[in-house]
C-alpha cells in the first residue's frame, strides 16, 4: 500500500485527526509517522511537554498502521501495550517508527520507538499486541 492511501485511511479516523499525524513511509513490516505538536497534546502545562498518553496513543496508531494499513472500518484491534518513557517530549514534532516483530494469523507484536529532532535520543519505546481476527 502506498503512503497516500494510508494517509487517506488515517484521515477517516476521528481520533487520528485529533492526534494530527501523517504516515511518512510504509512497507510490509514498518511504518513511520510524524505528529505535529498542538496545545491539546500538552500534559505538563508548566513545561509544555507532551502528555504521556498522547505519545502512547501516537505509537499505538503508528503500530496499528504498520500491522494493517488497509483497515476497513476501524484500525487493528489492540490487546495491550507497554510503554517505557525515556525522556520528556518537548514542544515540536514527534517521529514514530513501528516495526512489526511478529505477524501471525491471529496475533501481531509490534515495537515502536519515538524520537524528536535529535534522532539519537529516544523519547519513548513501546510494545503493542494486536488481535487480527
Amino acid at each position: 500500500m502506498d503512503v497516500q492511501t494510508a494517509n487517506a485511511n488515517v484521515s477517516r479516523v476521528p481520533f487520528f485527526r485529533f492526534l494530527n499525524f501523517e504516515i511518512r513511509s510504509l512497507d510490509n513490516l514498518h511504518a513511520e509517522a510524524e505528529m505535529t505538536f498542538d496545545d491539546r497534546h500538552i500534559g505538563n502545562p508548566v513545561m509544555e511537554y507532551y502528555h504521556g498518553g498522547i505519545i502512547a496513543s501516537f505509537m499505538e496508531a503508528t503500530a496499528a498502521i504498520a500491522v494493517q494499513p488497509d483497515f476497513a472500518d476501524v484500525p487493528a484491534k489492540p490487546i495491550n501495550l507497554t510503554v517505557d518513557y525515556l525522556r520528556p517530549g518537548v514542544k515540536g514534532p514527534l517521529f514514530a517508527r513501528a516495526n512489526v516483530t511478529r505477524k501471525g494469523k491471529r496475533m501481531a507484536s509490534v515495537s515502536v520507538i519515538t524520537r524528536q529532532t535529535d534522532r539519537e535520543k529516544a523519547v519513548a519505546e513501546g510494545l503493542y499486541h494486536f488481535l487480527l481476527v
Partner: protein, 160 residues
Amino acid sequence: MSDITKKKMEQIAQMWNARGKGLITHMALEIEEVSSEGVRVRMPFNPDFCVDADQTLLHGGILTALLDSVFGLANFVAIEGVSTMATLDLRVDYLRPAYSRADVIVRAHCFRKTRHIAFNSGSVWFEGHENAEIARGTASFALTRGGTDLFDAMTKGKTS
C-alpha cells in the same frame, strides 16, 4: 490517616478543572472522589476520541492517556512534597472493545510509594457497567522531592 485537608482537595479539583490548556482540558475530566486512598474521575463521552465513522468506539489510546492522567492525580494527593513527577512506564490491557457513548469512569490509586518511585494501578469502565471493565493499567512514576512543590508550581505557575 488522611493528612490531606479538604481545602487542598478543593484546590486540586479547581486546578484540574481550570487548567487553561492541554489534553486534560480536552478530556474535560471531572473529579468525583479524591483521597489518599484513591481517586475516581469521570471523562464525558467525546466523539473526537473515537475510531469509527459512527463515533461510538473509543480509541484505546485515550484510555491509556486517561489512566496516565489519573495516576498522576492519585500520586499528587497521596504523596506530600513532590516537586516533579514523570511516568517511567505504563502497561495497559484493553479488556473489551470500548463500544459506548456513555461517560467513562476511572478509579486509580497509588499502592506503594517510596522516596523515588510511586506505583499505581487503575481500572476503566463505562458508567453503570462497573462489572464490565474496558481497561486496566499499571504504571510507575519517578518522583523528585524538595525544591518547588509541584502543587505550588501548578497552582501559581503559568496555567493559561
